[in-house]
Symmetry: C2
Subunit: 212 residues, 2 copies
DNA sequence: GTCTATACACTGATAGAC
DNA sequence: GTCTATCAGTGTATAGAC
C-alpha cells in the first residue's frame, strides 16, 4: 500500500496495519510485515503506537467505526418494520460486500479474548456515542407492537434480531465453506450468490414472521 | 488435562492439542503450552508429530470427524422435509452446545489459509467417506420436489441451506456479542437463549418456506 | 521524525544421552 | 520413548545518532 501525499505517516501506518491485522489476526501479524508494507522502519511503529497491542486496539475500534453510524440510523429509523428489515438487510450486505473480512476478524478476536470484550465494546460505543440499550429497547418496542397488533407471529425480539444478524453475517464468515462446497470454488458464483441474498434474505425473514 | 491409564501418550497429546488449538488457534498456540498441559516434554511433541503444522492438521481434521457422520445421516434420511429440518436443527444445536468452540475455530482457520481449503476439505471428506456432491444433489432434489408440488415457496436450494446453517452456527461464533450486548453478559441467559433456539429456529424456517 | 543498532525473550525444532 | 541441552531464527521493544 503506497502512501498518498496528504497522508501523515501515523495514519498511513494505521491503514496498512488495518489491512494486515484484518487478514492475519493479532497473533498472525508481524510488526515487520506492517513496517515493510508501509515502507518504513520497524522502530517507527513503536514510536507512534508504543506496542503491537495498542496498534491493534486502534485498528479494531476503527473496524467498527465505519458502519456503526449507518447501522444505527437504520435501526432507529421511524419506518414500518418490514421496510426496516428490507433496508437493514440491503444496507448490511452492501457494507459487508465492501468489507468482507471484517466479520471473521471481529469474531475471532472477540472469541480469543473474551475477558476484555465488555471493556472494548463499552469504549467503542462511547467513542461512537451509541446507546445500545436504548436502541434495542426502541426496536423491541416496535417488534412487540406488531406482535400485539397481530401483524407478525409471536417471537421474542432478541431471537428475531439474532436470526436477522445470522442470515446477514454468516455467509461472509463462512465464505470458504460456501464457495468451496456449494459453489464449485467459483468466485463469481459466490459473488452472485451473495448479491441474490439481498432479496432472498429479507423475503425469507418477512415470510417467516408474517401471519398466514 | 490428565492422562487416563488406557491412553497412549500419542493420543493424549492429540487431546490436549485439540483443547489448546481450539481456544487459541494455530498462531496463538505454543508448543510449550501443549507440552505443559500434557505433562510431557516439548521434544516429545516433535517426536510424535514432527512439526506444529502437522499436529495442527491432525487436530483440525479430528474436529470434523465427530459430527460429520451425524450430520450426514440427518441429511440423507428418507423423511419429509419439515421433519428433516426440525431434526437437523435439534441435532446441530445439541452438538454445538457440547462443542461451542469448534465453529469459530474452523471459520478462523479456513479464512486464514484459504488457499489450502479445497485440499484440506477434500482429504477430510475422503477420510470420512463423504460424497458431498451426492448429498447435496439428494437434498436439492427433495427441496425442489416440494417446491414443484406447491408445498413450499420457490427458493433456491443453496440459499435455503445457507439460511439453515446461518441460523444454527452463527449464534455460537457470535456468543461474545450476543451475550455481551443482548443478554447483559449473563452466561445462564445465553445458555437459555440457545436452548430456546432449538424450537425457535426450526419454527422460523418452516414458517418462512411454508405456503401461506 | 526517522533511521541504525541492538537488547532480550521466546519459539519451533534438532541432537544426543539414557 | 523420554529426557536435557542447545540452536538458529524471529518477535517486540528500546537506546541513541542524526
Amino acid at each position: 500500500m503506497s502512501k498518498s501525499k496528504n497522508e501523515t505517516t501515523e495514519s498511513h501506518i494505521l491503514n496498512v496495519a488495518h489491512e494486515v491485522f484484518l487478514k492475519k489476526g493479532l497473533d498472525g501479524t508481524r510488526m515487520q510485515e506492517i513496517a515493510d508494507k508501509a515502507g518504513i522502519n520497524k522502530s517507527l511503529l513503536h514510536y507512534y503506537y508504543r506496542t503491537k497491542q495498542k496498534l491493534f486496539e486502534k485498528v479494531f475500534k476503527l473496524a467498527f467505526k465505519h458502519f456503526f453510524p449507518v447501522v444505527k440510523a437504520n435501526i432507529i429509523a421511524d419506518i414500518p418494520l418490514f421496510e426496516k428489515i428490507e433496508a437493514f438487510v440491503e444496507t448490511y450486505y452492501s457494507i459487508l460486500q465492501k468489507n468482507p473480512y471484517i466479520p471473521a476478524f471481529v469474531i475471532h478476536e472477540l472469541n480469543r479474548n473474551s475477558a476484555n470484550v465488555a471493556e472494548i465494546f463499552k469504549s467503542i460505543f462511547q467513542d461512537n456515542n451509541m446507546e445500545v440499550e436504548l436502541m434495542f429497547d426502541e426496536l423491541d418496542e416496535q417488534i412487540q407492537k406488531e406482535v400485539k397488533k397481530g401483524n407478525i407471529i409471536a417471537i421474542e425480539s432478541r431471537q428475531l434480531i439474532v436470526n436477522i444478524l445470522s442470515l446477514c453475517i454468516f455467509p461472509f464468515v463462512a465464505k470458504p465453506i460456501i464457495k468451496g462446497i456449494l459453489l464449485e470454488n467459483d468466485e463469481l458464483k459466490y459473488k452472485t450468490f451473495i448479491e441474490e441474498r439481498k432479496k432472498v434474505v429479507s423475503q425469507f425473514i418477512i415470510s417467516a414472521i408474517s401471519i398466514r
